[in-house]
């Protein structure tokens, strides 16, 4: 691990980030449907006020205590530390788009004056970005690990070890009855949230997606869009996660998600895709090729349009439609990467300057066209 600077940062900006982070690698179990598996632990420090009651001074103290432990307990080969109160807004947005921090952490204490200067930070394991730790979000610590494909067990194993190492340096707020004490009682107990990012274009096209959503809700699971709470399922991407954290052990949550619930949804999506190409071939071909036309010929693209078209292109590759219709030899990884690079902050990073919304639509279409056409 490189030695951190006195201010705690390691000196490099988010520019040093991997062009293809772990969650877009298209590897592992069921990667045709499951983009990534994510595990999060909510933890608070004993003897430190929770976020709503903490003054700025209190938060600064919490931040420093956390930083000392996180940077000195060998959590990953290389840990980068970003003080978000010192970061510029574009970098904060970039971290949100990479799913390394929440929108809430990017904004700072919600609604309050001087929110942007609120002491808060994120530690990120580089270069794979498998580990990230938010400091002073809703809880003092929000630890997260991610793996490509359906791989919750591996993500859990890593986070469990990280949690132990951090706990060796810090005392957590814990009670025998309520478990790990969290700011919001909906997270109390294990403080654990296991989630998978699913790509479900087949179920959307067959119209069965609502059945899946209802079934998930009945099982007490939350279904969110690509960018979490309140976001729509743009690009047919859905995040599915457990909500119950009290009275259910980590092992039992892991088992239910990895061996019961997610495999069933994966099978349902695969079945839908097979049905579409055997029974509704022309219809699906039309959808895929229209999307392909958009990606290769459009001159203006919004983020949502691009993601919708990329979703269908991904379906086209995985079902062989794109190749069979003389479309292209583009691969899934390139599509996955584009899902990230068409996002506003990433797009501006790619072109190297700030753009307004209209300029972004032009730049996005040009950039996508370039990538897709050289790939094919």
């Amino acid at each position: 691990m490189t030695k951190p600077k006195p201010d705690g940062s390691n000196g490099e900006g988010p520019a040093a980030f991997n062009p293809l982070p772990e969650w877009l690698r298209n590897e592992g179990e069921a990667a045709d449907v499951v983009l990534s598996s994510r595990v999060r632990l909510a933890r608070n420090l004993a003897g430190h006020l929770f976020i709503v009651k903490a003054t700025r001074k209190d938060r600064q103290r919490t931040l420093e205590v956390c930083r000392d432990t996180i940077l000195h307990c060998s959590l990953a080969p290389h840990i980068a530390w970003y003080d978000l109160h010192a970061a510029n807004p574009a970098d904060r947005t970039l971290l949100v788009e990479r799913h390394l921090i929440s929108k809430q952490l990017a904004k700072g204490r919600a609604g309050g004056p001087g929110a942007a200067e609120d002491p808060r930070a994120v530690a990120i394991g580089l270069p794979d970005e498998r580990l990230s730790i938010m400091v002073n979000e809703e809880d003092h610590l929000r630890i997260q690990t991610v793996r490509s494909g359906l791989s919750l067990a591996a993500a859990w194993k890593e986070i469990d070890a990280v949690d132990d190492r951090i706990e060796a340096g810090l005392e957590y707020a814990f009670s025998p009855r309520f478990g790990y004490l969290t700011a919001c009682p909906t997270n109390v107990g294990t403080g654990l949230r296991m989630s998978v990012m699913l790509h479900l274009p087949g179920l959307r096209l067959t119209g069965d997606i609502d059945k899946v959503k209802r079934a998930a809700a009945d099982m007490g699971l939350a279904v969110r869009g690509f960018y979490g709470e309140g976001s729509d399922a743009v690009g047919d991407l859905y995040q599915l996660s457990n909500q119950t954290t009290l009275g259910k052990s980590e092992a039992s949550i892991l088992h239910d998600m990895e061996h019961e619930i997610v495999p069933r949804i994966v099978e349902y999506e695969r079945l839908s895709r097979r049905e579409l190409i055997t029974r509704r071939r022309v219809g699906v071909e039309d959808q895929v090729m229209r999307a392909w036309g958009l990606l290769t010929h459009a001159r203006l693209l919004t983020t949502d349009e691009a993601m919708g078209a990329l979703s269908l292109a991904r379906l086209g590759i995985l079902t062989g439609i794109l190749k069979a219709t003389g479309g292209a030899a583009i691969d899934v990884r390139t599509v996955n990467q584009l899902i990230l690079l068409v996002q506003p902050a990433h797009l501006q990073r790619v072109v190297g300057r700030e753009l307004d919304q209209e300029q972004r639509r032009v730049a996005r279409a040009t950039f996508v066209r370039g990538r897709v056409c050289t790939a094919s």
Partner: protein
């Protein structure tokens, strides 16, 4: 006016219509919270919504401002001075001690938020279990002996509290869990 369910002063009036009949309830803050009636807003409201959709056309109004002295349950956390009302506004607690201070009010809410889960089951910080020998022996419930003992202790504590606050449905559920773990209700 007294609360319909206990001796406290009623501060929440809930009117609901069922089959054309208007039902009016007068409750204290704690009992209202225990019934999942939201008197605040925001995140807390959302938490309640996640749990269950309430009865049709419910009308809630706060009759008097805040809880007056003499409440059986704490309405202020002694450590961070967060009031239960503030918690209801934001849905967020102020410190670890809030869980103890508001245990009575939080218990039923937490249970509903976690599909009936009433006590922690799973990982325990090493500091908490330090000093006790690690037990590799697993019981039929899949828990180690030590985990099972800790779980039973927590459940028994809860049973006591549920009976004390006359939350018999909760008590019954806790009793079931204790039986499942093969413990006694002493």
């Amino acid at each position: 006016m007294k609360c319909d369910l206990c001796e406290n002063e009623a501060t929440v009036r809930e009117t609901s219509r069922r089959n054309g009949v208007t039902i009016e309830k007068h409750l204290c803050e704690a009992c209202a919270a225990a019934q999942g009636i939201d008197t605040g807003g925001g995140a807390f409201q959302k938490m309640i919504e996640q749990i269950a959709s309430g009865p049709a056309s419910v009308n809630i109004s706060i009759v008097t401002g805040g809880t007056k002295g003499g409440a059986a349950r704490l309405s202020v956390c002694p450590s961070c001075r967060l009031t239960f009302n503030e918690f209801k506004q934001s849905g967020l607690l102020g410190c670890a001690d809030c869980y103890r201070a508001f245990e009575g009010q939080l218990g039923p809410l937490v249970e509903r938020a976690h599909q009936g889960g009433v006590a922690h089951c799973g990982k325990v910080p090493r500091r908490q279990s330090a000093g006790k020998p690690a037990s590799p022996v697993a019981t039929s419930s899949g828990l180690s002996l030590e985990e099972r003992a800790a779980r039973l202790r927590a459940l028994q504590l809860q049973l006591e509290q549920a009976v004390k606050s006359e939350q018999y449905e909760v008590a019954a559920k806790v009793r079931d869990q204790i039986r499942k773990l093969g413990g006694s209700e002493a």
